[in-house]
């Protein structure tokens, strides 16, 4: 049977995990790395690179690379104009429609970019299962996590991304809740938990109770635009003010400040270091202490506490009522963040599980629950924001209130305003504000075919249904005549069914180029391995002696030439040439490798007794 996985589709990094014999595990690549950077880069020939390779290309061709696409999921151009200014790729799209990301002369929607990342994770998992010797290694179903505070459009965009990647999305679940599932496995079986999740781009707080294996979310809150990215930008501004470098330096600065930020979680002071580049001939080094860093980011950390208090309030709890606090997301490695959380709840937060991996682990647990029918655990989540419709005077009428356990349903009755009116506009909204214009517009539709009647007589019913993914569907009908209207809800900031279909067809057309990209990466990885091994041999202190005694004349030169030639073609996109030169270097070093191996074996054998052999 094909496999199901749990996927943490993050702003900065993504991961995939699965459950083996009841225990969740993240899937790593051959070098033991679990994180796939959520970066997509377009090669010169239109090939798509994802992950580490794309991250590397971000430095050399920033204008052909996209990162942080999650920030744009399910959003409109008007929402993102400000933050788009700081990014190397173009952000466009029609007013009131889906954001378009312009990169390398092509246009993508955020779900398409995310789909590339998901495809990479799917591929990684399939490779893993293949290596485990499984006959059916296909991965076709997944649970994907989203920030708890994602609205309907953002959730739908995530589900679309899954479909575009060839995955049946079993369930969309909230990141903090997923984390609690991962923790719940071997932790206490009852109590009140606060999950504080500060990731690359988003902040979430969820308050849960756990009892008899039922994980019930009481309330959730957050900020979909607050995370490690914002900390990076504060540091970047600090540096960019000092070097006033050109735009080409931005990615180098970004890389340098991220390194410094990571260092400062371990040490009291570090250097932000940028290597010399044409635009910065002398390079750049700047000392930054933890105290300075903490002063800089304190307002951002403080901003997380507002949603925390609101969530506690909504759950009817005080900070002291929390039995356990759990930290999730890479940004919770920052000592100041840990300190603030500890101060607020008056207890040391849990950090036993890797904060980068815990969400994917929980998603894998949920995937396992869905397909196995295991009933020991059950997750009851809530909808983060109220849902309603616009009524007379532009006022929001709430049909399902925030923090309602999902699935949830609700209905609202209304009527016509003028005689013989045969159609009414329905405007679906999400948010807490009183006025429709302050809420998120999710969709607009027209309920037609109302029989002509005096104003106020028709009984129009709008029904909302939120499914277990937190995604809304809407139905409307006229009750007096029993006439039911099938309505197509066109999402304001989402893709239509037709658009998703078209993108799926296009992705099949590009599949060949994508396979090509992967083969190229594999060729490069192989070449890199051979280069590293060769360079290591060439650094051997015994090289001179070996060369003199055991190598043929000119053999060492031939190796050096082959090495130089391979290094030269590494950046090329012609896979065949890389293969050829790798093969040539392999061939040239074959004899040297044998000689060195023999010496090692001989050395190993000489200090030992015959009986040991």
């Amino acid at each position: 049977m094909s496999h199901v996985v749990g996927i943490d589709l993050g702003t900065t990094n993504s991961l995939v995990a699965y459950v083996k014999n009841g225990v969740p595990e993240v899937i790593r690549d051959q070098s033991g790395d679990a994180l796939v950077p959520s970066v997509v880069s377009i090669g010169d020939e239109g090939t798509i690179f994802v992950g580490r390779e794309a991250q590397r290309r971000l430095l050399i061709s920033p204008s052909r690379s996209v990162y942080s696409a999650k920030r744009f999921m399910g959003r409109g151009i008007d929402d993102v104009r400000d933050e788009a200014a700081l990014l190397p790729f173009g952000i466009g799209g029609e007013a009131g429609g889906v954001v378009r990301i312009a990169v390398a002369g092509r246009e993508f929607t955020p779900p398409e970019i995310s789909a590339f990342v998901l495809k990479e994770l799917k591929h990684r998992a399939e490779e893993f299962f293949r290596e485990q010797g499984e006959f059916d290694f296909e991965v076709d179903r997944a649970v994907i996590t989203v920030p708890a505070y994602f609205n309907d459009a953002q959730r739908t965009a995530t589900r679309d991304a899954g479909r575009l990647a060839g995955l049946e999305v079993l369930r969309i679940i909230n990141e903090p809740t997923a984390a609690s599932l991962a923790y719940g496995l071997d932790k206490r079986n009852r109590g009140t938990i606060a999950v504080y999740d500060l990731g690359g781009g988003t902040f979430d707080i969820s308050i849960l109770t756990v009892e008899d294996g039922v994980f019930q979310v009481l309330s959730t809150n957050g900020d979909t635009h607050l995370g490690g990215d914002d900390i990076d930008q504060l540091l970047m501004r600090l540096v960019l003010d000092e070097i006033s470098g050109p735009a080409t330096l931005v990615q180098a600065v970004r890389k340098a400040v991220i390194q410094a930020k990571v260092d400062l979680s371990e040490v009291e002071a570090t250097d932000i270091r940028i290597d010399p580049a044409p635009a910065l001939p002398n390079g750049y080094t700047r000392r930054v202490t933890r105290a300075e860093f903490e002063a800089l980011i304190a307002p951002l950390v403080e901003r997380t506490l507002g949603p925390v208090r609101q969530a506690l309030d909504d759950a009817g709890l005080q900070p002291g009522d929390i039995d356990e606090a759990v930290l999730v997301g890479g940004s919770t490695r920052i000592p100041l963040v840990r300190q603030k959380v500890a101060d607020l709840f008056g207890r040391k937060p849990h950090t036993e599980l890797n904060p980068d991996e815990v969400v994917a682990l929980g998603a894998a647990v949920q995937a396992d629950i869905l397909i196995s029918g295991r009933r020991e655990m059950l997750l009851l989540d809530v909808t983060p924001l109220s849902l309603g419709i616009e009524t007379m005077g532009g006022v929001t009428s709430k049909i399902i209130v925030r923090n309602s356990t999902i699935p949830a349903s609700g209905r609202e009755m209304f009527t016509t305003g003028v005689d013989n009116q045969t159609a009414v506009d329905v405007h679906v909204l999400q948010g807490e504000r009183e006025l429709a214009t302050d809420c998120r517009s999710l969709a607009r539709f027209k309920l037609r075919g109302i029989p002509p009647m005096p104003a106020g007589l028709p009984r129009l019913e709008v029904r909302f249904q939120i499914d277990a993914n937190g995604i809304l569907s809407v139905e409307a009908r006229e009750l007096r005549t029993g006439i039911e209207q099938i309505i197509e809800v066109k999402p304001s900031y989402g893709l239509t069914e037709g658009e998703v279909e078209r993108m799926l067809i296009e992705s099949f057309e590009h599949a060949e180029a994508d396979v090509e990209a992967r083969l190229l990466i594999e060729a490069r990885n192989e070449a890199e391995t051979v280069i590293l091994a060769t360079e290591k041999s060439l650094r051997s202190p015994e090289l001179d002696e070996i060369s003199h005694q055991q190598l043929k004349a000119g053999e060492l030169e031939r190796i050096r030439t082959a090495l130089a030639e391979l290094k030269q073609v590494m950046a090329a996109t012609d896979r065949e040439v890389i293969h050829e030169k790798t093969h040539a270097l392999n061939h040239a070093t074959q004899h040297l490798a044998e000689v060195m191996m023999n010496r090692t074996v001989r050395e190993a054998l000489t200090g030992k007794n015959v009986t040991d052999v």
Binding site: L370, T405, R411, Q465
Partner: protein, 238 residues
Amino acid sequence: MTDPIPVRAEAALECRTCGAGAPVDEHFCPNCSRLLALGRHGDYFSFLGLPRKLTIAAAELEQKFRELSRKFHPDYYYNASPAERLASLERSSYLNDAYRTLRNPVSRIEHLLAIEGLPSAKSEEGTAKVPPDLLEEVFALNEELDEIREQRESGADAGALSVRLDGARKPIERKRDQHERQLQDLAARWDSQEQASAQDKRATLEALRERLLERNYINNLLATIDREAASLSAANLS
């Protein structure tokens, strides 16, 4: 929150899987044991297997909720037939609404009134006349609020006005507390009236409804005071 699905409970449900009939309060088909479609259920108490009483132990409600969640949740019907998947979605949604409604003592009373056939206390919200019991307080409060507003607009010391506003809030809060107690007493009376005549029960329900209307009115008054307090603190800051 919206009104519950109207009370028009059918005498029996038809199982979408095997076609057999089932009593309306059953969750699973007695014949084929599949999850039943919800139908037109209207009573949150009977759905949760609770007596139609206003005193509910929180722990008991939670336990019923968890128990039924484990029976209905869509997580456990992922591979089930479309009919059962739909039934799972409907029953879970309904269960969540029922739990939310019955957990809160006030929405619990509102639901009881609805299933006992009384008009909603919420529909008259805002349009209601001043309840006779509150006439005196409302009159005094409105006068005081007018004066505070007038003085604020002419730039009087906002701090002093805040103190005055707090003074005006006290009698209203006392009224609210009094009403809470009356509601509790009436709820206890309803719970003890199982064997009482239909007429006596009806009288209790009517009284509960009156108290709810007054309560809504009091809450609106408190909201008005809060708005004025916000204006005052804004004036104080500027």
